[in-house]
């Protein structure tokens, strides 16, 4: 039996194990999920050891001399403290390296969110009101003006829908009815976005399902 046929048979068996979920949760489906989790965990561990720990920590320790070696002591110490977390009694030692990690990720999140998402999204809403965009041959382009206003109001309504969920209980009655109204408009825009996203994911999943069924048919036809 060639390797291609063997790998194809493995793929076929695993596919059928996953599709067995159509008849309800069962042993084959759970085994398939366990295999996926185990392979992914094993592969991730192998990549982390061979691509991060060895080249960034172990190799530089052997190759570095003098003052530069001091720069490697700090990450080594942090890595050892994290490693000791395997033992439940020593898990508290991991707090300092994990705090270091939280600090780095918090800073990257603040910078990334402000520069990468918040500013571009806010600018995309505001730039629609740029005079060059709202004019056509010196005359107001009403279609673009209406669209720009709609985008601005829609975004505000969606943001108020968040506020509406958070402060629903605290608000007084008059305040609550106003928030309810604007929040409902926001909910409509959120619903439209979620509906479109649902269809996008559903279409992708359907294509995956069809491609898998076609692959099974082709593989079995090749065997016979």
């Amino acid at each position: 039996m060639s390797a291609d046929i063997l790998l194809g048979l493995v793929g076929l068996i695993l596919t059928l194990m996953v599709f067995s979920y159509i008849f309800g949760d069962n042993l084959f489906f759970r085994v398939a999920l366990t295999i996926l989790a185990a392979v992914s965990a094993g592969y991730t561990a192998a990549v982390l050891i061979t691509k991060v720990i060895i080249p960034l920590l172990i190799h530089p320790l052997g190759a570095t001399r003098g003052a530069a070696l001091l720069w490697m002591v700090f990450p080594l110490l942090l890595a050892v403290l994290v490693g000791l977390m395997i033992f439940p009694r020593l898990s508290k030692l991991g707090k300092i390296p994990l705090s270091f990690l939280v600090g780095v990720f918090a800073a990257l999140t603040i910078f990334g969110v402000v520069r990468g998402t918040l500013t571009p999204q806010l600018l995309a809403v505001i730039n629609r009101f740029s005079p060059e965009l709202l004019q056509n041959a010196g005359l107001p382009d009403w279609a673009r003006i209406v669209w720009a206003v709609m985008v601005l109001l829609g975004v505000i309504a969606v943001l108020l829908a968040y506020q509406h969920y958070t402060h629903k209980r605290k608000a007084d009655e008059a305040h609550a009815s106003l928030l309810d109204g604007v929040g409902s408009i926001g909910q409509i825009f959120v619903g439209i976005t979620l509906g479109a996203t649902f269809v996008m994911i559903f279409s992708t999943a359907l294509v995956a399902l069809i491609s898998r069924v076609v692959w099974i048919k082709d593989f079995l036809a090749g065997l016979l």
Binding site: V10, G11, T15, V18, F19, V31, T34, L36, A38, V39, A41, G42, V47, I49, V52, P75, A79, G83, M85, I86, K95, I96, L98, S99, V102, V104, F105, A106, A107, T109, F111, V113, V114, T117, L118, V125, V151, V155, I156, V158, A161, Q187, I188, F189, V190, G191, I192, T193, L194, G195, A196, T197, F198, V199, M200, I201, F202, S203, A205, S211
Partner: protein, 203 residues
């Protein structure tokens, strides 16, 4: 005191990283060193998490639990996968072929299965949430975009229909912008809370 040291470390690190990102010319070199350290610590933390997962399965086998069969499968496949990667190297074509031959059919089949599950989840959404502006807009939007995605309307090649489709396709962008801005504010608040001590070093 127990709480102050981790908070001090987190705040100091984040201010240094932010300073490095804002003034890359003066601090860029040091920032790269700190980011390398973060990669090492992050990798180590992930390895510890995987080790915990492995040990939990190992203990289940030792205790002979009812679910120890799954644990046995996990331990065997994990060791084969890890051992293969360490002995052959993760870049070895044969090792990668084996890993992808197991992962790809499972992932694609699970995605395909998601189509069946999602069809049911769409109905379940109405049962749990009831009728509201959100659920009605969701249902109408899903139906409209399903019809548009089929491509039959585009075949008509009618300029008014195409203009309507183009306008409809831009509608989800409004909600998406609002959601992204809202989520960004949420992420900012979580990050700032971490730096001010909420969630760091709690016992």
């Amino acid at each position: 005191m127990k709480r102050i040291i981790p908070l001090f470390v987190a705040t100091l690190t984040s201010f240094f990283v932010l300073a490095g990102l804002i003034w890359p010319v003066s601090l860029g070199g040091y920032l790269n060193i700190v980011l390398d350290w973060a990669i090492i610590v992050g990798a180590m933390a992930l390895l510890v998490a995987i080790a915990h997962l492995f040990l939990a399965q190992w203990r289940k086998i030792a205790r002979g639990n009812r679910s120890s069969f799954y644990s046995l499968v996990f331990v065997i496949v994990f060791l084969l996968s890890l051992g293969g990667g360490l002995v052959m190297g993760v870049d070895d074509p044969e090792y990668r072929l084996w890993i992808s031959s197991i992962q790809k059919p499972l992932e694609v089949s699970l995605l395909g299965l998601a189509a069946v599950v999602m069809a049911g989840a769409g109905v379940q959404f109405y049962r749990t949430r009831g009728w509201s502006p959100l659920t009605v807009a969701f249902g109408v939007s899903a139906l409209v975009f399903l019809v548009i995605d089929l491509g039959f309307l585009q075949v008509l090649n009618s300029p008014p229909v195409n203009a309507i489709i183009k306008t409809l396709q831009m509608l989800p962008l409004i909600g998406a912008r609002g959601l992204l801005i809202g989520m960004s504010f949420g992420a900012l608040i979580v990050a700032l809370k971490a730096l001010t001590g909420e969630g760091v070093g709690n016992d």
